[in-house]
């Protein structure tokens, strides 16, 4: 793997780094809020994957470029692929919905158990089970 390859694919390295950071937080943290933060970072890395793959070097935004007099669109304009960007707009909305449902659950868990730490919750449940 040459340095050139490494540099020219830098967006993928950023994506992979973010993905692993998010995934690590998700797995390693016991705090329910931190887990959701990890999930968010994880999802954001996918957003970046989609957005960066739609971008073309030197590409303009995908807007019809006229001659200034409302005439025909100028051809041969290099523009970025709008489709992945639009898809990720949907995915961002989905991500927000997931985050809010997750946070709402965290609030109810806090009300029910008085804690947001996973091991505390497990301890409480183990005590309840033992007393039954």
């Amino acid at each position: 793997m040459s340095l050139d390859f490494f540099v020219s694919h830098y967006n993928y390295w950023v994506v992979i780094f973010l993905m692993m950071v998010g995934f690590y937080i998700l797995i390693s943290r016991g705090n329910l809020i931190k887990k959701i933060v990890g999930l968010n970072v994880f999802q954001t890395s996918v957003f970046m994957l989609y957005i960066s793959m739609g971008k073309i070097t030197g590409g303009t935004p995908p807007i019809l470029v006229g001659d200034g007099h409302g005439g025909e669109a100028v051809e041969h304009v290099v523009y970025s692929n709008p489709l992945p960007h639009v898809l990720i707009l949907t995915a961002i909305v989905v991500g927000i919905a997931t985050t809010s449902v997750g946070l709402a659950l965290a609030v109810r868990i806090k009300e029910a158990y008085g804690t947001l730490e996973e091991d505390e919750i497990n301890r409480i449940e183990a005590l309840v089970e033992a007393s039954e």
Binding site: P84, T98, L105
Partner: protein, 494 residues
């Protein structure tokens, strides 16, 4: 009108959901949900009829021609799954009227039905769409509403179960998006039929193989294939009874459908089995799932949890059929989708009746219930026999085709057939534990405990009757399943 059936399949429950949410009255929302789910079933049956008569139905949303526009594509495979999902939705909806009033606070009931219909439309949407990104959107619609539904369970552990499912489910869904994105990079298309044509040209690319892996892990998280099943037992055990019955009989089935659609229709059977060795990956996982989860189920004291572990084992059977890489094996998988929905639906609904009367499904609390609730427990026994695979029940038909598929391959696969028989005996053990408690022990609870109300028993017995009917007359179901299996093995283009 009939040309619009594919979109109506989604629109009807999707529009009924927000109306349910704004209705203040629980009963009104309930009947609206019943109405919407019944119309969804009618549409699904009409679609199946159309497909059987005239082949693939393709619906172009907004008249945009695919692959540019989103296409709803109904062939025999997803028409079959649509009928499974819609019929379970239609049976559970009237069941939940009484059950939900008992298990959920009254101010939340309209919201329950809104989430229920959203979940139904999401699952139907995953099944009907012919567009990859659409699959993800519908997947999240069904998952988010499922998290909400599970968290409505009365024990507080329902909350942690829903949270855990949310984390694992979101990771699974994100994996699927990554897979879809990588496929888009390689082909520039999101339409399934179009992808199936374009992919063979880029089979050698590592990106496609990585996409395959991401899609596989993501979908397997959703379908709770061992060892990715950790979210399932608690989610099923602590969710409200109708939610468990609905989820157990639809959500994992739709995920299995996704697996079949992605790997057989889009990537193609040749790529999956010859290049990626899918069968050799799935076979050991399926076998471990069946054996270990049946074993775990034997030692459960909470009957809902027992059945949840049994569900993971049954999913193992479905994946086992796929790993045969043959038409007979796939027929077994597709038959078991339907048959398992019938049996687990009936079993979980019978447990819902028990919860309605005695408030617990602990195996000790169920002691002596056979005399107190004869119809409920009889339903459980028939469902249990079906789970074991006794002749004259649908379970037998599934196992028959599974064993047939194994014997067809011959050689070392005979051992797999023996294993299927052995694990049926394990199923007999865990069903027997409940039956023994219910019929051979003395009842120790409240003397006034009686049979569950008719509105709970009737839907339960509809499923029990279906268990028996399709167990005796399997010609039609097996015929459709085999036809669907042939379509899957041949690829989407034919």
């Amino acid at each position: 009108m009939t040309a619009q059936l594919p979109i109506l399949q989604i629109i009807v429950p999707l529009l009924a959901a927000p109306i349910c949410a704004v209705l203040r009255h629980g009963r009104a929302a309930a009947w609206l949900a019943v109405l919407a789910s019944w119309s969804a079933l009618a549409i699904a049956l009409a679609l199946l009829g159309q497909v059987m008569a005239g082949g693939v139905v393709s619906y172009h949303i907004g008249d945009w021609v695919p692959p540019i526009g989103i296409e709803y594509r109904v062939d025999i495979v997803n028409a079959w799954v649509l009928v499974i999902v819609a019929s379970m939705g239609a049976v559970v909806a009237p069941y939940s009227v009484k059950s939900v009033e008992h298990e959920i606070a009254s101010r939340r009931i309209p919201l329950f039905y809104a989430a229920y219909l959203l979940c139904l439309s999401g699952l139907l949407g995953i099944t009907i769409t012919g567009d990859m990104f659409n699959v993800f959107v519908f997947l999240e619609i069904s998952s988010l509403s499922a998290y909400a539904l599970i968290s409505l369970g009365r024990p507080r552990r329902a909350l942690t179960a829903a949270y855990r499912y949310l984390i694992m489910g979101s990771v699974g869904a994100t994996f699927i998006v990554i897979g879809i994105g990588l496929l888009y990079v390689m082909t520039g298309s999101l339409n399934m039929a179009d992808l199936a044509e374009l992919l063979p040209g880029v089979w050698d690319s590592r990106t496609v193989k990585v996409a395959y892996g991401f899609l596989g892990v993501g979908v397997c998280l959703k379908l709770a294939l061992f060892p990715l099943h950790l979210w399932l037992p608690n989610a099923y055990a602590f969710a409200p009874s109708p939610v468990t019955a609905f989820m157990a009989s639809t959500a994992t089935k739709v995920a299995v459908y996704m697996l079949l659609r992605f790997f057989l229709s889009i990537f193609g059977a040749a790529f999956s089995f010859d290049v990626m060795a899918l069968d050799r990956v799935l076979l050991p996982l399926a076998l471990v799932a069946v054996v270990s989860m049946s074993l775990v189920a034997i030692f459960q004291v909470d009957v809902k949890r027992l059945l949840a572990y049994s569900s993971v084992a049954q999913i193992g059977y479905m994946i086992l059929g796929l790993s045969f890489a043959s038409v007979t094996g796939l027929t077994a998988t597709l038959l078991h989708l339907f048959n398992h929905a019938l049996m687990k639906g009936a079993l979980f609904m019978a447990l819902g009746c028990v919860v309605y009367r005695i408030g617990s499904v602990h195996i000790d609390a169920m002691a002596g219930l056979g005399k107190r609730m004869p119809w409920t427990m009889a339903a459980f026994v028939v469902g249990g026999l079906s789970l074991v695979g006794v002749p004259l029940t649908v379970g037998f038909i599934s196992k028959w085709y599974l064993i047939l598929g194994a014997l067809e391959k011959g050689g070392p696969w005979t051992a797999v057939a023996v294993l299927v028989l052995a694990t049926s005996v394990m199923a007999l053990v865990y069903v027997w534990r409940v039956v023994e408690a219910a019929y051979l022990r003395e009842f120790s609870g409240d003397e006034t405990t009686g049979e569950a109300p008719l509105s709970l028993l009737a839907p339960t017995w509809v499923l029990v009757a279906a268990n028996l009917y399709f167990g005796i007359d399997a010609v039609r179901t097996a015929g459709v399943a085999r036809q669907a299996a042939e379509v899957l093995m041949a690829g989407i283009g034919s």
